[in-house]
Symmetry: D2
Subunit: 362 residues, 4 copies
């Protein structure tokens, strides 16, 4: 069965509820970074605003943000902190068109079999059957490889194990990765895996702790800081394998968002968390599939800025989000946001990656 | 690298500490099922008792049991409840030969690389690297297929997922299974998977809940009770696939130990928990590898009766125990018993089984 | 605010749907322990069956069981295995009166504030606010102390900690306990706490492991087996405190259901799991509140046999079920059964018991 | 029993191993933020360096940092990123005085009972007995209230529950809190609790979700951004209770470290993660007890910068670290760092805080 995107159906704006609806009201920003009272905040769903008699679809959306007018018939979804004085913010907290704002959850409803499935998922645990989720994920990734933008959000555990690290490299090399989000630890332990064959001083194949191995991650960071950049570390030939190596060789971008846990940090790590957000969002605006593995901080941050849909070539399509973690709490935390399109899988991400590589590549 | 069992080295009984040690003392059982005061209780390790001038090795041992004399130079390890009046029970709570009892933890110490690895394992979590554990497990199972006795302890989750159920069947059909321990739910949901393609009323591939699906497991049980036995259910052709089907077709024994959670029960399920223990132990006495998947009750029960070693053809060899569960608490609970030979893997058992099948068979 | 039971409202049987409904059909049992085809299986909810023109309410119900006629206007809910040849079993799998069977989920719907609360509970985790659940539980227990029947299902962890063990004893002594369900380990480690001040050889206050402490639980069991009964152990003065001591002194019954994990077992432990079920159910038939602490096996077994309602003095009232465990998976497993009346609390049961004691007694 | 700090015993520097040891070698920083090769990295333990014939103790230490000379007989422990060109960095990776560096793990060894306890703790889980840990914690906090500096690291869950939020306020008001570390969510949901009685739109007592409650946290942030500061929000009288209110009224500092998950952010939230680290460390340099509740990011960040000891009035004393979370994985992650002084408690932090308040205040 060939994979096809579900068709999106716009609301029927000829209906009375829409034709009789008022224009959406706006108010100006008076203080930088502060929205006017009664601002409208976005959801993860497609939203339409009645502007100059037309229902305008929000694009490159993110939840819990505000919407400002752009010209006479377009909008931009912005974080509060990015509001500039004078911008016109959309006002209203009803979602049923009665204030010129319509939040539309039914666009993908007609796609038969798929809806039924989702309708019955009431919770995901270690006892859920994942056979079909895997099969569907293989289909999604094969499709997205050519036509989409696949964002991976990786916790450092991806680098702790020899096989999963190799599988991730293989996925990068075979075109299944468009951008990687991570933190200082991801890059540090990946480089440590190349330079010392360890992660946090423990051999990534044999699990043996190496004498003075607790120096390894510090040595990696200090060496890279001395050389000046990850790119130069690799072009100088110090690193011959691993995730960072594959990204740089294949010209795949990565975003390393700094956190208060960091040693170092490595060059390339972004110090300012809102700069990190902005950089991440510049990729999420293009993303059509997002896969989060074994990272709560980065996965939740990414989930916060990922809408349920994307407008690609004027077509509205779903964004597929996968959350994979051994902890039900972690995967369900992301899933609680209510989107139908988050698939959570409770397993060890080592096995998950090895499965993916085998079914997509080998 | 070909897999080889580590060599066992008996203690050097010519040493002074052994030659000068007294004979072990015994006292008779006065009341059925009650040991005399100061009884010796077994550990999981090889133990030797000085009897008539010779150091006799316990065989078919299990922890927390007592030891009775058999003839003039043999012993039997028995559960307290199985003690008969008049049996002579070994007495003494020191383990250093000073009472004629020697507990020996160093028999496999000389095996180089392996020891080192184990020495460094301080805890197992979702962040442990399992690449090498998998590789070793593949080697162990290939070896045991011909020369050992492999016991599987299965939770019902094995049957909840289409792929893992098939993988388990494949392992049975290819000779990697000598006996299966489980409960009423394992067999019931496996049969449900055959008759209805569901587990607890949910499709094992699509996850879709089927109308009136909550009747399925009851119907399976009631039908089998009507027919009279699992064997007849299958020989009558009602069941065409699944774990029970494979066991019966391949003549692989299974032990279904009843529990207070059970509906039904199915025929074959053992009502009396100590009868269940005895039946399980009759297999464990032969087992050389034990693999517990996603079951706390049955895995812990099995772990309780599994020693760290087995005497096969007069050679002492280790028993390999694997504990696989998505919960660190569950896998570590078994590992806390202190044996070096428990390998715990924190993952979803669906992925574990699919991995195994692929690497051992496909 | 004084605690009051929600009022139960019977269906209005004068409605057309009920008056025009057919009588429920029955079929006889042909083979002992096997139901006729198309048997009706019970839910946790109040159910009514049309018999001789009257709608008869099931009482002392349990889910996943069958219903047999008793005389001309009564029924008995029975496990399949207890069916006798010739008994008339109710037939039908619709629940809307169309086959003379009506499953009624709305009996407590009118109780205002309470419904609203429950309506909004979508999941329970470590991040749920439990303040009000505790307050309500204190009210429930004060009420039930005089007017209800409170069943406690205890895992052995209750005895591992000095403070929680004392709190539990205090709850028994002050009348908040009508029966205790547990296993061999609960009683064994409780007695070990009295005889040795340890649990599994570790001091229950200081956590210090005692030399040869791994003999303690075996010594407890062997000593009790020698004496012959828990009751005699206590009347002989060997035990001066703890949960078993309090039960026997206060004449509170306890049910110790054996499992395949057991050492020993202690006298009083029931070997046959279906005998255990029957004994447990003889108490559950009277229970109005059930509290399960840190035990999966016994809590799920109890949950399986506990209906959402009880008929007390001809009034229908809800059964309150509390499931307390540090694991979301464990508490939600019980909650998944769909009853509105399960309250799950994710916490350490030590703190839970200490909280209860302080608010109910001190 | 009155609580006393364990006495610290300096090494006996008259011993040959110390008198014959060489002076520690240093090398200069050539590039800003980069250490010379073979730099020494600190541990959590007291370390001494031989400088001008004297063994100088590191103070205000933190693990995984470098040590630079200050004048002729002092040192400063610095993060790599804070190294300035020309600073002299201590060199050497042995810890046994042979390079003029001595890492001392035995300073508190002589304190009898305490050592024994810690010696036996091999793992902490839901089944550990915490009675004595609580008793000790009460003693520690009463002592530290007058003589120490108590740092609390709070996850937002502290504010999700009415009772735990009140307990935390009470601890602040009664002098048991010297500084609070948290993030944007902690402050936001605490203020939401004041303005709307909700957290994430759900009533913090009744759990009822309020209509349009998902606007609450955004409204809190937007309002505060409009007003300009948390302090002004409170002095203007908008907020009458809660954790932020208590801190500002009592002049207790708080550090809100920004993260990529943040909405908003609130004023006071630090954007730059290394600025956050520096601010946090300025408090940790004084901290004698650190308590982390239900926060992985902030607790681990704090743990990373907290040494096992502090020099107070020229005396060396231990730093007590408590890690409280419902997840074994989370508490053990902090504990894996190897310090003897981390006490981890597996429970819901609501119950933990209510326990503390009752035993310390009520």
């Amino acid at each position: 069965m060939k994979f096809e995107l579900p068709k999106y159906k716009h609301p029927d704006f000829k209906k009375e509820v829409f034709t009789s609806a008022p224009e959406v009201v706006t108010k100006p920003v008076i203080k930088k970074g502060v929205a006017p009272d009664n601002y409208h905040a976005t959801t993860i769903f497609p939203e339409y605003y009645k502007i100059n008699g037309k229902w305008v679809l929000a694009h490159e959306s993110r939840m819990d943000s505000v919407v400002v007018l752009k010209g006479s018939c377009d909008v931009e979804v912005k974080e509060f902190r990015r509001l500039d004085i004078g911008e016109q913010v959309l006002i209203g907290r009803s979602e049923d068109a009665s204030e010129g704002i319509y939040v539309y959850t039914g666009g993908f409803k007609s796609t038969g079999e798929k809806d039924e499935t989702f309708a019955f998922r009431t919770g995901r645990s270690r006892e859920t059957s994942y056979s079909r989720d895997y099969d569907r994920l293989y289909d999604v990734l094969k499709y997205e490889k050519d036509k989409g933008y696949i964002t991976w959000v990786l916790g450092p555990a991806v680098t702790f194990d020899s096989d999963s690290r190799k599988a991730m490299v293989s996925l990068i090399e075979h075109g299944f990765v468009n951008v990687i989000f991570g933190g200082n630890a991801l890059a540090t332990h990946d480089l440590e895996g190349s330079l010392f064959k360890t992660a946090l001083g423990q051999d990534i194949y044999t699990q043996v702790s190496v004498p003075n191995g607790h120096y390894h991650h510090l040595d990696v960071i200090n060496k890279t800081r001395g050389i000046g950049s990850l790119e130069k570390l690799i072009s100088d030939g110090h690193i011959q394998d691993g995730i960072m190596h594959a990204c740089i060789k294949k010209d795949i971008p990565f975003v390393l968002a700094g956190s208060i846990r960091d040693d170092g940090p490595l060059p390339s790590v972004i110090r300012d968390v809102y700069d990190s957000q902005d950089t991440m969002r510049s990729h999420i605006k293009k993303s059509t599939t997002v896969i989060g593995l074994a990272t709560q901080l980065h996965s939740i941050a990414t989930g916060n800025m990922t809408p349920a849909y994307q407008v690609v070539d004027d077509e509205v399509r779903p964004v597929y989000i996968y959350s994979v973690d051994v902890s039900e709490f972690a995967v369900n935390k992301l899933r609680d946001r209510g989107t139908l399109e988050v698939t959570s899988i409770v397993t060890n991400i080592q096995d998950f990656l090895v499965n993916l590589e085998r079914n997509l590549i080998k």
